[in-house]
Amino acid sequence: MLEYILEMINITKEFPGVTALSNVNFKVKKGEIHALVGENGAGKSTLMSVLSGIYPYGSYTGSILFKGKECRFRHIRDSEEAGIAIIHQELALSPYMSIAENIFLGNERAKNGVIDWDETNREAIRLMKQVGLKDKHTTRIKDLGVGKQQLVEIAKALAKNCELLILDEPTAALNDDDSNHLLDLLKRLNQEHGLTCIMISHKLHEVISIAHSITVLRDGKTIETLDNTEPVSENRIIRGMVGRELTDRFPKHEPKIGGIGFEIKNWTVHDPLDEERVVIHNVNMYFRKGEIVGLAGLMGAGRTELAMSIFGRAYGKRISGTLIKDGKEITLNNIGQAIANGIAYVTEDRKGAGLVHIMDIKKNITLANLKAITRGSVINEDEEIVVGKTYRERFSIKSSGVFQKAGNLSGGNQQKVVLSKWIFASPDVLILDEPTRGIDVGAKYEIYKIILELADAGKCIIMISSELPEILGLTDRLYIMNEGRVVGEMETSQATQVDIMSTIIKSSGGR
């Protein structure tokens, strides 16, 4: 009998400019539930993508032993054949198909290429019983809640005869009842069927209640593996997660903070797809001129939703509350009005929503404020070139010129173009959503300098970041958000990563 069902040895995975994993070692015993924890960007999902063949053999170094045999997965199909199944945060179900069809999606029960419906239905009913799903097998996925959809995913994995099940944040989108049900199911499958599980989670109390061992990743490195047969404390885990030294990664800066420039009062937002669901609960915040205010929180805390709902209702339905700018209440019904009122929002989704890739640099920069270079109704293209050149020099955007297509730039330079666009729109309130995501360290430093420069020019800067060190290194004050609420406010000088993490974790544990 092998002790370890899975051994990942010296895994190193590099992306252009970033080392996502460096010499990670990760071992899972047969028949255990093993939790993988770490901050956003610590490398948890990357490690699981390496394991499941999403990053094929050859794109990383190191070796993977599954059931004692070396594996070279080139495709997710290979890992599934070997008996490894992964359930992502984004569920991979087809909404207009039935539960039974989804359970066997890509793994159809067929004879000579014709689907055997009797076999499909019989097996589906058996698997549904096993995961405790009491609906009819013909129910369509779109009529199920997220909790039940999660169960269908597990049934789907079981249908593939998997021996190692990986769950990426399985309870992130679930309420407490559904979470408990799911955790009980995992325990039961583990005890009765000997299913080995790897669970990625931010909810440490869940991790402690269910896992046999806990591995902590930080900055793409394995920090430690804790034995949780005797439950360890949350603080013990948090120390491992955030225990990094802060070095000189941020420019030195003396804040020049003025009066209140922007306020959000009693701001409540509902989900545009499910109008009954409240996404932002009665949020109150204020922002002073020249001050950088951080919004800390885990993914899904509602920070992006908050920012976009403020930005001319770019997100959300049934929005209530007031916005006050320079002492006056303002109403922003669309993005055009928001921009006209001096609000700018730099999206977290640079590739998908920040840039027009097939347009050149100068046209991207002027896009949000074309009026500034238009006389009568004619765009002054010469003025546009001048604008492009000015920003290219000011932020040292590395390119062959202002005629280069934005899509051909590196991530950091693309972000500089997006920032230029919003600075050219001359906002008073600048909301930055993950402004350094996917950018290498050197370019990050330059982006930080731009942000500080803008603050010194007296703008209200609101910075959303999932990297705590970044929030701590750059902001003057911070709000902590969790589950759509403000759960804490701190002066950055008095905050630590442990404070922030434990505020978040306590606030979700309490409900």
Binding site: G336, Y345, G352, I358, K363, I379, D382
Partner: protein
């Protein structure tokens, strides 16, 4: 010289298309024994293909918004033609008024479709498919299957030329007719055409020179002198050669004035105005455009309303050329227009394409149609050939894009 490379790279697609047009013209010129480029045929080519060009200009905007098309324009041309018959023949209104009503009918139909597309979010493909059926149906209801004759201004627009002020006998040294061995040698040169060509081209060259000077004065970046001079000189030569050519026949077709005006107006809108820029931005990345404060719904509405307007113009032109309002006019016009845009370098995903490209694409289609008919190629084979050209044009585009990443 990084600069030259830069300029060439930026314009390579435009010149590539023009090159393709020239090759096709030479090819058919040769295989038709020169008949294709006879002055008479050239002015006929312009009139015959005016509808493709007008529709392609509007269609280019639809495609730019994100690869959307308007399938209804053929039927809309038919509806407008029926309206022409109804107003000018049945009701006996003056033709000027009839034309105005007909064009407005096109605009109204465009507004109708724009409403469903932009504000109800019915996909353009479906909306215009419905329009295709609706407009064709209304045409048949109005005309009741009959063909009605059209007169007056319709015929002037469809077939007329600007009157000649002082016809001149062709001087011997300019007698290109001999060189080309034309059958009916032109005896007279149309002075109006020559003067218009000369004036326009001179004004354009002057504009280029003055514009460059004033830019330089205000400290803006200017293109290198050699490229400006080359452009101006070649433009001057081409325009005057072309006007000389038409002058050998009946002179300046009224249709040509209309086409040049439309080309100029829409090129201006596409390249120099905020709505034009917004169309390109939303085709390039819808989300980014919306987050930059662009009202994409209004843009969609305007683009389809404009398509209706241009279909109205194309309808009047088509009716005028055939001198009649008829029930089955306009069949497959939408496909010609869409094909012209893609041949002219439009991206099937939106955001890339120029009015100039639509024009060149329309002429490529036109020259092929005309040339293939002249050499007596079977109509069905013609269809096969046109289909292949569209396919290859887009395939070439995809290939060159994959080579240069984002091109």
């Amino acid at each position: 010289m990084n600069n030259i490379k830069d300029i060439v790279n930026r314009n390579i697609r435009q010149y590539g298309m023009l090159f393709a047009l020239v090759v096709i013209v030479i090819f058919f010129g040769v295989v038709t024994g020169g008949r294709l480029i006879w002055p008479r045929n050239v002015s006929m080519l312009v009139r015959q293909n005016a509808y493709v060009l007008i529709l392609a200009i509007g269609m280019m905007f639809c495609i730019l918004t994100g690869g959307n098309v308007d399938l209804s324009v053929g039927s809309l041309v038919a509806l407008v033609s029926a309206m022409s018959g109804l107003t000018s023949y049945n009701l006996g209104l003056p033709t000027g008024l009839a034309i105005l009503i007909s064009v407005l009918t096109g605009l109204l139909a465009g507004i109708w479709q724009g409403f469903w597309i932009a504000y109800v979010k019915v996909p353009p493909f479906i909306t215009t498919l419905a329009g295709m059926l609706i407009f064709r149906g209304i045409n048949n209801i109005i005309l009741d299957g009959k063909t009605l004759p059209l007169t007056g201004l319709y015929i002037t627009i469809g077939t007329g030329s600007v009157p000649d002020i002082a016809p001149q006998t062709v001087p011997d040294f300019l007698h290109i007719g001999d060189l080309l061995k034309l059958q009916n040698k032109p005896e007279y040169l149309n002075m109006t055409m020559l003067l218009v060509g000369l004036t326009l081209s001179t004004l354009y060259v002057l504009f280029i020179i003055l514009n460059r000077k004033s830019k330089k004065k205000r400290g803006y970046e200017v293109a290198p002198l050699w490229s400006v001079v080359t452009k101006a000189v070649s433009f001057f030569i081409v325009i005057n050669l072309f006007s000389y050519w038409l002058a050998m026949d009946e002179g300046l077709p009224i249709m040509l004035i209309l086409l040049v005006a439309l080309y100029a107006i829409y090129t201006f809108i596409a390249t120099k105005t905020i709505p034009g820029r917004h169309i390109y931005a939303m085709g390039g990345n819808l989300k980014a455009a919306e987050l930059s404060g662009i009202n994409t719904r209004r843009i969609m509405f305007l683009v389809y309303a404009n398509m209706g307007l241009l279909a109205g113009v194309a309808g009047v032109v088509t009716a005028g050329r055939s001198m009649a309002a008829s029930p089955n006019v306009g069949a497959n016009f939408e496909l010609d227009a869409i094909g012209a845009c893609f041949i002219g370098g439009a991206s099937a995903y939106g955001g890339i394409g120029t009015i100039w490209g639509a024009v060149v694409g329309a002429f490529i289609m036109g020259v092929m149609n005309n040339g293939m008919s002249m050499i007596g190629l079977d109509v069905f084979l013609q269809s096969v050939a046109k289909g292949l050209v569209v396919l290859l044009a887009v395939a070439f585009d995809m290939y060159s894009k994959s080579k240069s990443r984002l091109g």
